[in-house]
Structures are given as structure tokens and as C-alpha cells.
């Protein structure tokens, strides 16, 4: 099967600066792919190259096998996108905006436009000027615009930007629904992992123009239990310094001190042994907490906390 979208060693150089340093991955139909990275990592640049808004320095983007470079019309015919904000003509109504874009792709009927409006639930305000729309309504109109021509790939750049929690939840539900019902590949970029984690099947993490990890979301939460040292353990104990020393000498664990708390990572099986050691050496233990390493923690570990704004 041909991938819905495939990036082949995609590179972008502006001036002497290499902004995107060779991205390669592919996304299948019906899959929701999260594209995560701190601001300035190159997410938007990559998306702009995917849809042909920016020229590609090296490598290629293929949509259903068609290159965006050499076969632009054919490739872009299968893409619906919102790049950055969902900007529409403010002096036109929602309906006029959609019809405007509908005229640009052959074969979009009025019925299809109505269908899409129904899908995003904009029936009521569709005859109003877009200038009066709230950000959430514009975001929905943006999605409607992107779905008009039944694309195989839907690209949403920061779709949760500026939305309130209710709006974010709404968008999340739409995207799941669209991926399921219209069987499209959805690519969502965000700098906030927590916002899109729940709607993605897979997540790619980009930093400084490089893809540093691709992670399946469900796999992470369940399957990672088998990995070693993935439990985050926190122990409140006194004296703290002695406890840390003991962990280091007896178990080769580098624990971090945080007031009276020490935290470190360990496999679940090793925890009783650790506590036994501490108790034997007259360390008073007040509480022990164990939490799973979330995707977010992993994300922070990968890109480094301080690089996030």
C-alpha cells in the first residue's frame, strides 16, 4: 500500500542555515500523526514544504506517491490543510468563503459543501460574515475548507492554538471522527504534547530540524512497562543525604534530592529491595510514591525541558 504521505530525507536551507536537516517518515491512511516540537523546531517549515508553500532544498514529499515538487497539482489535490491560523476572508460569509475554495478544485458540488458544514456543525452561523466568528468557529471553518475536496491527507498546524479547553476538546473529537469516518491520514502539529496526545496514534518529535523520536502512543503507555527503569519513584525519608548515598553505593542509582523527597527511576521489581536497604540502615521512611513515566516526561527528556518556552 502506498503511504498517504511520505517524507524522504527532506531538507530546507535558508541562507547558510540548515533549518530542516533531513526528515524521513511516512503516514498511513486513517492514522492520526502528532508532530511535536518546541517553537522554532521547524514544524511549520516542514508543513509548508509538505503543501508546496515553500520550496524544498533537497529530498522530497510524496502524497499517495505523487511528488509535490514535480507533480504539484496531482499531489496537492489530495491534501487539505490549515497552515498556522485558520485565516479566511473576514468580509465574506462562511458560505462565501467555502464556495470560493470549492470553485478552485474541480468536482465539488454544493451538496458536498453543505455536507462539510454539517460535519463541523456550522449550519447556524454559515451565513454570517467570518469577521464576526469566534476563534473556535474559524477553526471549524478552516477544517471544513480543508475537507471540501475529500483529501487523503489532512494537515492541521497548531489546531489548538488560542482555543479554550472546551474548544480543544471539540477539535479533538472532530479529528478522531474525521480520521475514522473519512479514513484520512491526519497530521497535527503542536508544541504542547498534552493537548494532542490523546488524539494521536503516533507521535514524531522534532528538535532543531531533526526528527529525534517516533513513538506510538498506546504502545508507550502499555508496552513500555517491560522496559527497565521506567517507573518514577519518590521517597520521603530522613536523613536524606544518607539515603541518597546508600542508593548510590548499594544500587548504583543516581537519585535527585528535592527537600525531604528523593526521586529516581527504577524498575518496579527492584523497589522492595531498595526499601529494605534503606530500612536496614535506619533511614526513616514516611512515604513511597510510584508513578508511571508519561509520554510528556519522555518528551521533556528527549528535547530538554529548558528549550520549551
Amino acid at each position: 500500500m502506498v503511504a498517504a504521505m511520505e517524507l524522504i530525507d527532506l531538507k530546507k536551507t535558508i541562507g547558510n542555515k540548515e533549518i530542516i536537516k533531513g526528515l524521513s517518515f511516512s503516514i498511513q491512511k486513517g492514522e492520526v500523526f502528532g508532530f511535536i516540537g518546541p517553537n522554532g523546531a521547524g514544524k511549520t517549515t516542514t508543513i509548508r514544504m509538505m503543501v508546496g508553500l515553500m520550496s524544498i532544498t533537497d529530498g522530497d514529499v510524496r502524497i499517495l506517491g505523487n511528488s509535490i515538487k514535480t507533480d504539484f497539482s496531482k499531489a496537492v489535490r489530495e491534501v487539505g490543510a490549515i497552515v498556522e491560523n485558520p485565516e479566511m476572508y473576514p468580509f465574506m460569509t462562511g458560505w462565501q468563503n467555502l464556495m470560493h475554495y470549492a470553485r478552485m478544485t474541480p468536482g465539488i458540488t454544493k451538496e458536498r459543501v453543505k455536507e462539510v458544514i454539517h460535519l463541523v456543525g456550522l449550519e447556524k452561523p454559515i451565513k454570517e460574515k467570518v469577521g464576526r466568528y469566534s476563534l473556535g468557529m474559524r477553526q471549524r471553518l478552516g477544517i471544513a475548507q480543508a475537507l471540501l475536496h475529500k483529501p487523503s491527507v489532512l494537515i492541521l498546524d497548531e489546531p489548538t492554538n488560542g482555543l479554550d479547553p472546551a474548544g480543544i476538546r471539540e477539535i479533538r473529537e472532530y479529528i478522531r471522527k474525521i480520521a475514522l469516518e473519512e479514513h484520512v491520514a491526519v497530521i497535527i502539529s503542536s508544541h504542547l504534547l498534552s493537548e494532542i496526545e490523546q488524539m494521536c496514534d503516533r507521535i514524531g518529535i522534532i528538535k532543531n530540524g531533526e526528527l529525534i523520536a517516533i513513538q506510538a502512543v498506546r504502545e508507550n503507555v502499555e508496552a513500555s512497562n517491560q522496559e527497565v527503569a521506567l517507573e518514577q519513584v519518590q521517597i520521603e525519608a530522613t536523613p536524606v543525604d544518607k539515603a541518597i548515598n546508600l542508593l548510590r553505593t548499594n544500587h548504583e542509582i543516581e537519585a535527585v534530592r528535592n527537600d525531604n523527597m528523593i526521586s529516581f527511576r527504577s524498575s518496579k521489581e527492584a523497589i522492595p529491595k531498595l526499601i529494605e536497604t534503606l530500612v536496614k540502615h535506619q533511614i526513616a521512611i514516611y512515604q513511597v510514591g510510584v508513578s508511571k513515566v508519561t509520554l510528556e516526561d519522555k518528551f521533556f527528556n528527549l528535547i530538554g525541558e529548558n528549550t520549551i518556552e
Partner: protein, 329 residues
Amino acid sequence: MSRFFKLVFNEQFKIYIRKSTWIMYIILAGLIIGNAALTNSFDEPNKYTDDNWREVLEEENKLLQQDNDTYTQEMKENDQEVTEDDSYLQFNMTEIEKNNYYLENDIQPHSYGAWQFVLDNAMLLSVVSLLTIIIAAGIVANEFRWGTIKLLLIRPISRSVVLLSKYVSVLLFALFTLIFVYVVSLLVGGVFFGFEGINPSIVIEKNSAFTDVSMVSEVFSAYGYSIVNLVMMTTFAFMISVVFRNSALAIGVAIFLMMSGNTIVAFFSDRDWAKYILFANTDLKQYASGTPWIEGMTLSFSITVLLVYYIIFMAISWIVFKKRDVAGH
């Protein structure tokens, strides 16, 4: 083809749905009506209609001659040189010659009417140019300002075709506005002054002699000659709009050049390369009336220069638009 038509329709839709466009048309209509009211209150439109039109013309000539004599005398009293081609004298002399032409050929001058009014309103074409420049300056730059350019360029249509649809739309806007000026002038003229007939004739100066020509053809040639300047300045504004994505800059530069074009040519008129300046060539009427601005210029020379400028403007617009990375604001 029908797809290109749809693109042009989209662009026209975006032009005409905005209130600012309609304000332009209201201003134009206001200018035409104001002009009619002004003409009506200054002239006596029906002074030649009676049988004594010959006497009226002779009386006019006498007054003009007197006016010239007193002017010459006054100038002499103030110790100022008066030459034959003093503009004040020239203007009166032209009127006298024109009246003589009517008398010699026994043509009764028409009363002032709708056609004559349409012809007089050819001066409004500089306003049409101005409005078209405003549209041309905005049609690409605004898409960037609104951010809608991103959604426009991710359709299965090449950038060249998108740009062409925009350029054609600007020219269509100019055409519609010209027709608007023409029709409204004819209607307002008809209401204020009445019609002179289906195709009346008019006496004009051509190659320093007077001839009798059809009014309608004169109207079309007056409008036609202005279109050259309109198209050139519009294309220029369009180019600036594409290159700098800033409509205010495009409007400013294009209007400044349009206003100061003649001054620029006059300023450099003694240089060899003056005849290659765009504005020395935009007024093709100079060849019809006989005397080109700069010696050695011919109609085919001007057309060649205009074409070269036109191709340069278009090529820059297209290359820049095709190559541009559409990045953030």
C-alpha cells in the same frame, strides 16, 4: 478554460463584495454629476441653436481678439516681452481659428450635449487609473496581509495561473470602471444637456489644422489613448504589490510616478536617454496630434519601448510570485 473563468469569478467576487469598491464607484458618479452641474452653471449650452449662430461666432471672435489685444498691451506696459506663442494668446487664437472653421465651412456648431460631455469626462480616466492602481496594489498584497494566500496556493492550480487570474481581474475591473464612467457620463449628460444625435460630428485640431470628425470615434480615441497609461501604471502597481507584498507602498509609488511622470520627462528632456523613459512614451496621442515630445520619436519606437517595459513588469511579477516561499508575516 471554465476553471480559469471560475478563478477570475472568485477574484471579481472578492473585489466587488467589499464596500470600499462601491465607495469608489459612488465617488466616480459624484464627480460626473458634479462636473455636469459645474458645466451647466458656467456655459450657456444653447447659444448656437438659433439661426443667428454666425453672428454669435463673429461676436465671440471679436471679443477674443479684444481680449488678446488688451492682454498684449498690459504686458507691454509692465515691460514684459510678449511672443506669438504665449499660452494665453495661443488659447484665444485657437478658439478664433476654430470659430473661423465653422464659418468658412458653414457648419453650425452643436449645442453642448451628452456626447460632448462624455468626451470632456475623458479626464476622469486618470481617476479610473487611480482606482485601478488601488485594486492592482491590493489584489496580491492583501492576500498576504489577510494570510489567505496560504489557502489560495494549496489548491491544485499552479501559481502562474492564480497570478494570471488576478491580473486579468484587475484589467476587467478597469474595463468595467471605464464602461461605468462612459455610461454614467452619457446618461448624466443626456439629463443635463440633451443628446446631440446618434453620431454627431465635432471640430478638432489635428496636425495644426482643423477638421470635422465623428464625435463617437473621437470619444473612443480619447478613452483609448488613456488606456495605455492605465495599463502600464496598473501593471507597475501589480508588480510592486507582488514583489513587496505591501499595498500601501504599491499605491504610493505608482500614483507618485503617474503624477510626476511628465515632470520627470521634462526634467531629463535634454539627455539622450530621455526618450527611453516610460512616461515619454505612454501618451501615444502625441503622434496623432503631430508633435512628439522629444525629437526623433516615432509611434513604432514608443510601442516598442512600452512593450519592453510591459514584459519586464510582467516577468518580474511572475518570477517572484512563482519562486516565493510563503512564510510567516
